[in-house]
C-alpha cells in the first residue's frame, strides 16, 4: 500500500509541474461558469438550486476528463518510463490505482474550485444543500468513471491524441445510451432487456438519480463497478502491450 501512496503523490505533483493542471482548472471553471450562467440561465430561472450547473457537468467532463486521462499511460509508454516504473518493486495494482486516484483527486480539486457558484446560490436564496452535496458527489463519481475508461484506452496506445479521441467516443456512448433518442432507435425492434441494459449502463441516468438528491446504493455501486472494471481492463492491456 506504501507504493500506492508514493505513486499517487508523484502523479499528483506531476500535474502541477506542467501547465496542464492550470490550463485544465482555468478552462473548467470558465466553461462551467458560462454554461451555468448563460446557457443554463441561472438568474432567469430564479430558482435557488444548481441544476443549471450540474446539467452541463456530464458534457463538460466528456470533453475535459479524457484530456486528463490521455496522458496516464500513453506518456509512460511513449517515453519508455513504463519500463522503469514496472521494474521498480511495485505491484501493477499499486501503479494503476495510484495513477488513477491521483487523476481522480485532481479532477475533484477542479470540481471543488467551483465553490463560488455554491456561495452565490446560498447568498441569493435557500437552496437544498443536501441535493447540491449529492450532486457534487455524483459528479465526482462520474468523473471517476470517465477517468477509468480513459486509463484503459491510454494504456492501449502510445498516442495521446488517439487515447483522447477513443476515450471521448466511448464515454459519449456511455453517457448517451440512456438518452430518449438512443432509446427510441432501439425501442422498435430490440427486446426490453436490451433497452433496460442500455439505460442501466448509462452514466447519465445514474448521475441524474444521484443529483436528484437520492443517493442510492445501486448508483454508487454502478460507478464503483465501472471504475473497477475499466481499471482491471487497464491491467490486462498493460500486461499485453507494455513491451510494444
Amino acid at each position: 500500500m506504501n507504493g500506492l501512496i508514493v505513486v499517487l503523490k508523484r502523479e499528483l505533483a506531476a500535474y502541477f509541474l506542467t501547465p496542464l493542471a492550470y490550463v485544465f482548472i482555468v478552462i473548467f471553471l470558465i466553461l462551467s461558469g458560462i454554461f451555468t450562467f448563460y446557457l443554463g440561465r441561472f438568474y432567469e430561472r430564479g430558482q435557488a438550486d444548481l441544476v443549471s450547473f450540474f446539467n452541463f457537468i456530464p458534457w463538460l467532463y466528456l470533453i475535459l476528463v479524457p484530456a486528463v486521462a490521455m496522458r496516464l499511460w500513453s506518456e509512460e509508454r511513449r517515453s519508455g518510463t513504463i519500463e522503469l516504473l514496472m521494474t521498480l518493486p511495485l505491484t501493477l495494482f499499486e501503479v494503476i490505482v495510484g495513477k488513477f486516484l491521483a487523476a481522480w483527486l485532481f479532477v475533484g480539486l477542479a470540481l471543488l474550485l467551483t465553490f463560488p457558484t455554491w456561495i452565490t446560490v446560498n447568498y441569493l436564496g435557500q437552496p437544498d444543500n443536501g441535493v447540491i452535496l449529492a450532486s457534487y458527489a455524483g459528479s465526482w463519481l462520474m468523473a471517476g468513471g470517465f477517468l477509468a475508461v480513459g486509463s484503459c484506452l491510454s494504456a492501449a496506445t502510445k498516442s495521446q491524441v488517439v487515447a483522447f479521441i477513443m476515450t471521448l467516443v466511448i464515454c459519449f456512448t456511455f453517457v448517451a445510451s440512456g438518452f430518449p433518442m438512443v432509446q427510441d432507435a432501439f425501442s422498435h425492434w430490440a427486446p426490453v432487456w436490451v433497452l433496460d441494459g442500455l439505460s442501466v449502463l448509462s452514466f447519465l441516468s445514474h448521475f441524474d438519480a444521484i443529483s436528484r438528491g437520492v443517493i442510492e446504493l445501486r448508483d454508487i455501486v454502478y460507478f464503483l463497478v465501472m471504475i473497477g472494471a475499466w481499471l482491471m481492463a487497464t491491467g490486462i492491456i498493460l500486461n499485453m502491450k507494455k513491451a510494444d
Binding site: E83, T87, L88
Partner: protein
C-alpha cells in the same frame, strides 16, 4: 573458505513475440564479482533478455532465478535486489533530479531521513550536485544517463543491470560512465549490454556474445580475443618494398600471409597454436630487411564478434573456447 553461490541462474529461457523468436533457449549463470558484458548485434535479444531478468517481460518458457528467487513467481522480491538502467535511461523529464531521486528512494521503501541519506550518497557518488534542481529534460545526454545510473544504485542493489549505458554518449562521457561502472562494480554483480567492443576490455571480466537469441561465445575478454585468427599473428611493416610474401609463406608453421592496407605491411598468420615470431625475426635478420614495425597481435575482439555472430546467422555450430579456431581465408589473404 568461499562457497560458490550462483547469484543469477538462467535456464532454457525463451521468448517469442508472435512468430518472432527473440530469445531461444538461453542458459547461463553469473557468479559473484563478475562484470558480465552482454554482447551481440542489434536485435540479437540482449534487451529482451534484460527485460526478462528485471521482470518487465515474462518469458515464454524457462526460468530465471536471482539469489534463488524466481523472477516470474516473485517479481517484487527479485526487483528489490536489482538496480536497472533501461535502454536510453528513461526518466520523468518534468521532475527535477532531486525530486526524481527522492521518488525512487521512496518507492524503494526508504522513509524520512533515510530518503535524504540515500539520495545524498548517490549524488556524491555520481557527482550530480550541479544539476540537482534542474528539470531532467533540460539535462545533457551524459547527465541524463548519470541520473539513470543514480536511480539504479540508490538502494545499493546486489545486482546491477545496465542496458547500453554508454550508447549515444561522446568519448568523454563514455569514459566517465565506464569509470563509474568500474567503481560501482566492486561488491556487486553487474550485467552490461553493449555493442561497443572496446567497452568489454574496459569494464568487463566476462563477455557473453549472443546472436539470434542464442549464446555463441562465452569467456573472459582475453579468451575471446584469443579466438580471433589474429591471435598470435605477427604484423610487420617494412621500409622498402621487397618480395616478402613468398619468403614469409615459406616459413615453417606459417598458415597464410595477408597484405596490409598500408604499403609494405603484412600480417603473418601462424598455424593455430604455433608461435612464429622467432622464425619471422630470423628471416628479417637473414635477408637484412629494414623493419619499421613488428608486433604480435593479441587478437581482435571485433573480428571474433563478426566471426561468431555471422557464422551463427548461417546456421553453423557454436564456437567453443577450448577448440582452436581455424583461420579462415579472407579477402586480404594472398
Amino acid at each position: 573458505m568461499e562457497v560458490p553461490i550462483t547469484m543469477i541462474k538462467i535456464t532454457n529461457l525463451k521468448k517469442r513475440f508472435g512468430d518472432l523468436c527473440a530469445v531461444s533457449d538461453l542458459s547461463f549463470q553469473v557468479n559473484p564479482g563478475e562484470v558480465l558484458g552482454f554482447l551481440g548485434p542489434n536485435g540479437a535479444g540482449k534487451s529482451t533478455t534484460m527485460k526478462m531478468l528485471t521482470g518487465f517481460l515474462s518469458p515464454s518458457s524457462g526460468d530465471i532465478s536471482i539469489f534463488g528467487i524466481n523472477v516470474a513467481s516473485k517479481p517484487l522480491e527479485a526487483q528489490r535486489l536489482i538496480g536497472y538502467l533501461p535502454e536510453g535511461a528513461p526518466s520523468y523529464g518534468d521532475m527535477t533530479v532531486l525530486s526524481f531521486l527522492k521518488f525512487i528512494a521512496a518507492v524503494r521503501g526508504y522513509r524520512g531521513s533515510d530518503v535524504d541519506a540515500r539520495v545524498e550518497s548517490v549524488i556524491n557518488k555520481i557527482q550530480l550536485e550541479k544539476v540537482l534542481y534542474q528539470r531532467i529534460e533540460t539535462l545533457s545526454k551524459g547527465f541524463k544517463r548519470r541520473v539513470g545510473l543514480a536511480q539504479a544504485i540508490i538502494h545499493d542493489p546486489k545486482v546491477l543491470i545496465l542496458d547500453e549505458p554508454t550508447d549515444g554518449l561522446d568519448p568523454n562521457q563514455k569514459h566517465q560512465v565506464r569509470e563509474l561502472i568500474k567503481n560501482l562494480s566492486k561488491d556487486k554483480i553487474v550485467i552490461i549490454s553493449t555493442h561497443i567492443l572496446e567497452e568489454v576490455h574496459a569494464v568487463c571480466t566476462r563477455a557473453l556474445i549472443i546472436s539470434s537469441g542464442t549464446i555463441v561465445a562465452d569467456g573472459s575478454p582475453d579468451q575471446l580475443s584469443a579466438m580471433s585468427k589474429y591471435h598470435q599473428a605477427v604484423s610487420l611493416k617494412l621500409s622498402q618494398p621487397c618480395d616478402a610474401v613468398s619468403a614469409l609463406k615459406a616459413l615453417a608453421d606459417v598458415d597464410s600471409v595477408a597484405v596490409g592496407e598500408e604499403p609494405n605491411s603484412y600480417v603473418v598468420f601462424p598455424v593455430p597454436g604455433k608461435s612464429i615470431l622467432k622464425a619471422v625475426n630470423q628471416l628479417l635478420h637473414d635477408r637484412d630487411w629494414q623493419v619499421e614495425e613488428l608486433h604480435v597481435e593479441k587478437g581482435r575482439l571485433d573480428d571474433v564478434f563478426r566471426q561468431v555472430t555471422l557464422s551463427s546467422a548461417h546456421g553453423q555450430s557454436q564456437y567453443k573456447l577450448d577448440q582452436s579456431v581455424k583461420a579462415e581465408e579472407s579477402e586480404g589473404v594472398v
